[in-house]
Amino acid sequence: MASKYTGLREFLTSIRLAVALLSLIALGAVLGTVIPQQVEGETFAARLHPALLALFKALQLFDVYHSTWFVLLLLLLPVNLIACSLDRFPAAWRQFRGGAAPDGTERLADLPPERIVAADRPPAEEASRLEALLRKRCGRVQKVETPQGFVLAGGKGAFSRFGVFVVHLGVLLLIAGGLAGAIFGVRGYVEIAEGDTANTMQFRGGKGAETLPFAIRCDHFTVEYYENGAPKVFRSDLTFIQDGKTVRQGALLVNHPIAFGGLRFYQASYGLLPGGRLNLSYVRGDGKANERDVAVGDRFALPGGEGEVEVLRAENDLMRMGPAVKLSVTSTRGNVQVWVFQNIERIKEANPGVLAQVPLMNPGLFAPYLFSMQKKGEGFYTVLQAARDPGVPLVAGGASLLIVGLMITFFFSHRRFRIVLEEEKGKSRIGLTGSSNRDPVGLENEMNQLLAEIGKAEGHS
């Protein structure tokens, strides 16, 4: 029983497993980018040899990122990471607290001769000077008396032992944040024609829509170009409206998102409305004229309740007769379709009797209403990307920890020094040893420097 658990524990805490997991995850990612995935994979699959196809299917290579084995690897990684960190933390803590203290058995005879210098005063006096010297470098210094003299010990950069744990905590937070985003995040688009107001967010990939508790009006959309024709600025001037009141106004540009109502909005793309923006006016009998800005797809009810109008098409120049819009009016009388021309007066002048011959061109076809239209320049619609991702703070925190942890791990090291003093004919011989958890070259340099300081002060006496 116990041995079975020990085996599992050894497996989960081993760095070999980490190496294997990371390698396999990288391999999976390579396959996922090289083999066409999901829908694209189907055409590719048709070209494969049946045996190869069976193998690919068995290994779920047409949807690597959602395959059982890839997901298992991704789940095992944090388990490995946590197990490994818990397993090693106590040892790191002990090292941080100072590691093994000098036990008084250190001897000069064990040191290489180039690390030993001679001093004029007896060990007791030299020891207090060297203790101050070492304290300047290391903070706390341990001093042990030996039959021959003294041993001084000090360390610096002990905190760097924790760098690796900070890195790994960062990795865990990144994974957690990514997961939180994938599960609880929302991502969609809001499309608004210039001048219009919208409150529906279309989810990505055609997975339904959500009605927002506020509305966004696109007051203006601007695109500017450089001389060479490349785009320079995409900008939507937006108004956020809640309960009929303007709550916020702002310009949305690429790289300058706007946060509102728990969502962040980004300038994602834009387009030209087919036929541009138009103003439609309609008069009932000899009553008051109604006007409204419309775009293709818009629907509205006629003021007398006689029916509903839908804007079917808009053309900048229909049959060389100028701008026109096709309306469909649905009522209890059935469905009537009509093309409303901007230049209807001029058309009538040039072709007398045309309305009688082509009823489809008669703006008064749906009596008692008379329609007319006016084109209003080029119309744009803007596409805002909207996102809510509760994982972002975790990811940002994880990434910061990762970077800070890497700096701690790689740019600092835990260096420990020991100074051994032995009495020789009323004078001292002083030796230096050092150890470090990384960067042997840096340690060597610092030891040389320290040894020079140990030797230098001796000149003053």
């Binding site: 070999r16 990371l22 980018t33 790289n255 998102p257 996102a387 990762l402 970077i403």
Partner: protein
């Protein structure tokens, strides 16, 4: 004189420097090495001047931005970073043996930038998505990281050659004698990977911040992003493998080659998969 004309010239300066480093290795005379170093330094100064000139020209054109915004500019910055790191290493280690392996990398990058017809050397204005300081930091950190990995790659080749040279026994000529001791190469290789790993981590992170501002998503699994993650993992594996018994030495050298292959694929190969980042 335009910056691209200077850079074409610098390409040949690096070629000359490489040839001199090679002569040094074959002849074993430090005179050639010293000449090679000086030529490399002059090339680097000209290279730096061309970068500054290009930067200034973009402002004169009214579309000012740091020269880190398109494929051509990334190539020349990559080459510049390779030289920068190499010259620092040469100065710090007082050894010129790496030059013969590293200078050709910079030469090839510049040659590709100048000669390849697919690479547009015009200064282009920034389209809206690229108008971000995060872009500058992103490119800067990524390519400094790539340059560190190029050092590790060159050191890896040197390490493997050293192994071969030792098999040659006494006949091994000046070339092999001038290659430093295996453990010194290995330590430097490790340091280069460490530096590259930190810079690449920063590069991926700043890229994500930029994507978060520009597209509302810090990560979209597009092929370039996925490949930068693959590269990052390859080097993470390398750092961990060092702690597994028996993985030091030759295997590390081989992994430095694998890692750099992954870097090159992330940089160039991904253009053949479709991607937001595609340069062509």
């Amino acid at each position: 004189m335009s910056d691209s004309a200077i850079l074409s010239g610098v390409t040949f300066v690096y070629l000359l420097s490489f040839l001199l480093y090679l002569v040094r290795m074959v002849r074993g005379k430090e005179f050639w090495g010293s000449a090679a170093s000086w030529i490399a330094r002059i090339g680097f100064l000209l290279h730096s001047a061309a970068l500054l000139l290009r930067w200034k020209s973009s402002y004169d054109l009214g579309i000012g931005h740091a020269p880190l915004a398109n494929f051509y500019e990334s190539l020349i910055f990559f080459a510049w970073a390779v030289l920068l790191l190499y010259l620092i290493i040469e100065w710090k280690t007082c050894s010129r043996s790496l030059g013969v392996f590293v200078i050709p990398v910079a030469f090839l990058l510049l040659a590709f930038a100048s000669i390849s017809p697919g690479v547009n050397d015009r200064i282009q204005p920034l389209i809206p998505a690229l108008q971000s300081n995060w872009l500058t930091v992103h490119v800067l950190t990524c390519f400094l990281g790539y340059a560190s990995f190029a050092m590790a790659f060159a050191l890896g080749i040197m390490y493997l050659l050293k192994g071969k040279g030792q098999d040659g026994g006494k006949e091994a000529g000046a070339f092999f004698r001038l290659i430093p001791a295996a453990n010194a190469i290995e330590e430097l290789l490790y340091q280069s990977v460490v530096l590259g790993f930190v810079l690449l981590s920063l590069g991926i992170m700043t890229g994500s911040v930029w994507a978060q501002y520009a597209w509302g998503s810090y990560w979209s699994w597009d092929p370039k992003e996925t490949w930068s993650l693959i590269t990052w993992i390859v080097y993470a594996v390398m750092l961990h493998a060092r702690s597994v018994r028996g993985w030091r030495g030759k295997r590390m050298a081989v992994m430095a080659l694998v890692g750099f292959a992954s870097v090159l694929f992330t940089y160039l190969g991904v253009n053949y998969l479709d991607s937001l980042h595609s340069y062509f």
